[in-house]
């Protein structure tokens, strides 16, 4: 960054345009499919910016995971539910929602700009984990950090993913056909019957774990 070439500036400018155009596209396109495609555009732009900042591994992951998996998932859902119909973007039912949102948006941008222009950014100790630059490829540096210092967090994220998968399966599963409710054993109400429990909704049978 110390010596920015014209190419760098050009790359940044182009990517910025792509990113912002995609973002605006997400917000204004009435059709969700269009929105998803605009999202892809933004994601690519961000990936380019990652590359521009020497985060090669992340750029790759960005493209593969985000653009490749997440957006595809979005599209799947859109197709699956048949909700590709257009949303009436011009109409807003909540009074004042839109103007206030825009005002807030402008205010926020203004504040960010003031912040970025007016203050010195870098605070705190440098290189807490290790330098981002230096010998070795970016992938290697990142891997070293992930598998050493952040190993536990890394393992936990894997657990998180598994849980998310299980959760998604449970949530999206089509409920089994309604079984006729078995009469509950008599002892249960006697044991559990307190006025508070009477009011509570009946426990859906679907949520009883299968195993």
């Amino acid at each position: 960054m110390l010596a920015a070439t014209k190419v760098d500036v050009a790359v940044f400018g182009a990517s910025a345009v792509i990113v912002l155009a995609g973002a605006i596209g997400v917000v204004i396109s009435a059709n969700p499919v269009h929105a998803a495609l605009s999202l892809v555009m933004t994601l690519f732009g961000v990936a380019v910016l990652f590359v521009a900042q020497e985060a090669h591994f992340l750029a790759a992951v960005q493209v593969i995971v985000y653009a490749g998996a997440i957006v595809v998932l979005f599209l799947f859902v859109i197709m699956l539910l048949g909700v590709d119909r257009r949303e009436n973007v011009a109409r807003e039912e909540l009074r004042g929602q839109r103007p206030i949102a825009f005002l807030l948006g402008i205010a926020t941008i203004a504040e960010f700009v003031l912040l970025t222009r007016g203050t010195s950014w870098v605070t705190g100790a440098e290189s807490v984990v290790g330098p981002a630059s230096g010998p070795g490829a970016n992938v290697e540096t990142l891997a070293r950090s992930l598998f050493t210092r952040y190993l536990l967090a890394f393992e936990i994220t894997s657990v998180l993913l598994v849980i998310a998968v299980v959760g998604a399966v449970v949530l999206a599963r089509r409920p089994p056909p309604e079984r006729p409710e078995e009469p509950e054993p008599l002892a249960v109400p006697e044991r559990l019957h307190t006025p508070q429990l009477d009011d509570a909704a009946p426990v859906p049978a679907t949520e009883v774990p299968a195993p």
Partner: protein, 101 residues
């Protein structure tokens, strides 16, 4: 012309704001979800920028985790949307106002 981190940060800020505004103005839950992704990306961009500015790989590592969490979140979130759709036949946020006081 110099290309210091400020430009990246500003871009990220604008991106974040667009995402936030989108979240506020759109009714389609799917699109709102996409706007959340925009915001996440803005933050990711910020992290990467700081990682470069501070010369600290930690920023990138954090982006990695954000990506993973975002993936998980999308998976679960979409699952919820699917099940809501099954129950109510639509994905408009304004249809869901059971929390009205």
């Amino acid at each position: 012309m110099t290309l210091d981190g400020g430009w990246y940060l500003t871009l990220a800020a604008v991106l974040f704001t667009i995402g936030a505004v989108g979240l506020l103005v759109r009714r389609n839950v799917l699109v709102m979800f996409m706007c959340v992704e925009l915001m996440l990306n803005a933050v990711n961009l910020t992290f990467v920028t700081f990682a470069r500015m501070l010369d600290d790989i930690g920023g990138q590592a954090l982006v990695f985790f954000v990506l993973v969490v975002a993936a998980a979140e999308v998976v679960v979130g979409l699952g919820i949307i699917v099940s809501i759709f099954r129950r109510r036949g639509g994905t408009t946020a304004d249809d869901l106002h059971l929390l009205k006081g």
